[in-house]
């Protein structure tokens, strides 16, 4: 499902201008990472996509739905939003009920809810823990429950707000895997992140925000190569990218594979 944002401005009641004229189109099935310094407007932008915030001016369309005309509960059928802090949404007695809450709200038939829940639990490695009370799980696993509870809604668009913050390598890998599976199913994915390695390894398109505007938008390699511009919004390219630059590689590299290929190319010369 296509996301279309036209000249979006947003000012908080306190007078803070969080978004100043954002225009973007995200095509169906794209995987996009949004990066930028704290307070750049990333979360504010994401919250416009499911109607939690309404534009001060400009418009947001989710597959022809103008977000001003639909409630968040309605938009939830199109946009799944994984919040940063899982504790702000978990309330059920056990993991299974928690994950089933979203799809039930969307009014799916019982068999479909069950199928979606099982699938989501499998994707997040939670099958063994389906009877557990979410609050008996560690914060890491609670995060996975929150992710599962949104994937189970089977929305064409999924937003992750800083999914990897404070997580260990195993969990990050698990989250990356979830994103991979969603990509294969043709979902549109938006991820807000400060984790540059995670961004470089999992996303094809990167949008850089600064002071409520889009600073850079393009293919991950093109964007991550622009060290000076990124520095203005306090973003540092991944280590390998910077190392590649220092070694004088012509192309921008962002993961081990690309780095090794570029290195071999140089040795052969």
């Amino acid at each position: 499902m296509r996301i279309e944002i036209k000249d979006l401005h947003f000012t908080y009641p306190s007078g803070v201008q969080a978004l100043r004229g954002i225009s973007l189109t995200i095509e169906s099935g794209e995987q996009v990472a949004i990066i930028g310094q704290n307070g750049a407007g990333k979360t504010t932008l994401a919250r416009h996509l499911n109607g939690l915030l309404q534009p001060t001016s400009g418009e947001v369309r989710i597959g022809y739905w103008d977000t001003r005309r639909y409630s968040t509960a309605k938009l939830a059928a199109r946009v799944g939003y994984v919040f940063q802090n899982p504790d702000e949404q978990l309330f059920s007695r056990d993991v299974h009920m928690e994950v089933a809450f979203g799809p039930k709200n969307l009014g799916y038939p019982k068999e479909r809810v069950e199928a979606l829940v099982s699938e989501a639990l499998e994707m997040t490695d939670l099958l063994q823990k389906r009877e557990t009370n979410p609050y008996d799980l560690s914060p890491t696993w609670r995060k996975m429950v929150a992710i599962a509870s949104v994937i189970a809604m089977d929305t064409p668009i999924v937003i992750f707000d800083e999914p990897t913050t404070g997580q260990d390598a195993a969990t990050i890998e698990r989250i990356a895997n979830v994103i991979r599976v969603l990509r294969e199913r043709g979902k549109t994915i938006l991820t807000i992140t400060h984790d540059m390695d995670f961004c470089a390894e999992n996303f094809e398109r990167v949008i850089v925000m600064s002071q409520g505007q889009v600073l850079l938008d393009g293919k991950a390699n093109d964007v991550l190569g622009q060290e000076e511009i990124l520095a203005t919004t306090y973003v540092e390219p991944p280590q390998l990218t910077r190392l590649g630059k220092r070694l004088g590689f012509k192309e921008t590299v962002r993961n081990e594979e690309e780095f090794l290929t570029a290195l071999q190319k140089r040795w052969r010369i």
Partner: protein
């Protein structure tokens, strides 16, 4: 995105400059006099409290508190008491099967004045006093820090819970929770909203306890204070005046009735 986490309005005014204890004395002097002195005192004090708000230059914020919080409550009380208090001889009007007696309207007016004095004077204290300064001053005067903590966290907890509730509401609406249509759906929406709020608040309390303990909260040594809270001669004068006023108003009650 700075949320105002307490009632305090950070400006400068004569009331802001007063020592917190002086303002606290004012609050209690007003409340004690309004409730325990001769009944006719309460409306007079209500006017006095109302005017005090202007010295504090917090009229705008005070008006908000007044309109949104105090007025609806006391109007409701006034109507209920006027209509439903038993007894009363001089009937003014009849509301359905109930008689509204002059005596009851008078009693309702007095009760409402007392409640107004109580809530309003507290509102003025909170609007013009930074909670930390209030507690620093009271602790310096010998209030146990544990008690100060209980009071200060109570003052802060409502705005904090409000912010938290807002986030939870957003998270659950993003999961398709309908909080806007029929009454039944709204009632059903309570559990997913209250659950994380209560649990989250409990966790927060525990974390905060650990955090302040890690900074030596219960250390038995004498502590220094971050804030120098000035206590002027004018402050002492006002306080003693208020104390004498309170005593006189109590005496009036004993001798005049």
């Amino acid at each position: 995105m700075s949320l105002n986490r307490s009632f305090f309005v950070p400006i400068d005014s004569p009331l802001h400059r007063l020592n917190p204890l002086t303002k606290l004395t004012f609050v209690f002097a007003m409340i004690i006099s309004a409730f325990l002195s001769v009944p006719d005192m309460a409306p007079a004090l209500a006017v006095l409290v109302l005017l005090t708000g202007f010295i504090g230059k917090v009229q705008r914020q005070y008006r908000t508190v007044l309109l949104k919080l105090i007025l609806p409550a006391i109007l409701f009380m006034f109507v209920m008491q006027s209509v439903f208090l038993p007894g009363g001889e001089t009937i003014l009007i009849q509301v359905g099967r109930f008689d509204v007696a002059r005596e009851n309207v008078r009693a309702a007016f007095l009760t409402v004045s007392r409640v107004f004095v109580m809530v309003s004077s507290f509102a003025i204290l909170l609007l013009t006093t930074h909670p930390s300064k209030l507690m620093a001053d009271l602790t310096r005067r010998g209030l146990p820090p544990q008690l100060a903590y209980v009071i200060i966290s109570t003052l802060q907890i409502l705005p904090q819970m409000q912010a938290k509730a807002q986030t939870i509401l957003s998270a659950q609406r993003s999961r398709g929770l309908d909080t806007e249509s029929t009454f039944l759906k709204r009632v059903r929406a309570i559990v997913p909203l209250v659950g994380p709020l209560v649990f989250g608040s409990l966790v927060e309390v525990e974390e905060r306890a650990i955090a302040i303990e890690a900074r030596g909260f219960t250390s038995p040594r004498a502590k220094t204070f971050l804030y120098e809270v000035p206590d002027t001669r004018a402050d002492r004068l006002i306080r003693w005046t208020l104390v004498i006023f309170t005593l006189l108003s109590l005496a009036a009650r004993i001798w005049l009735s």
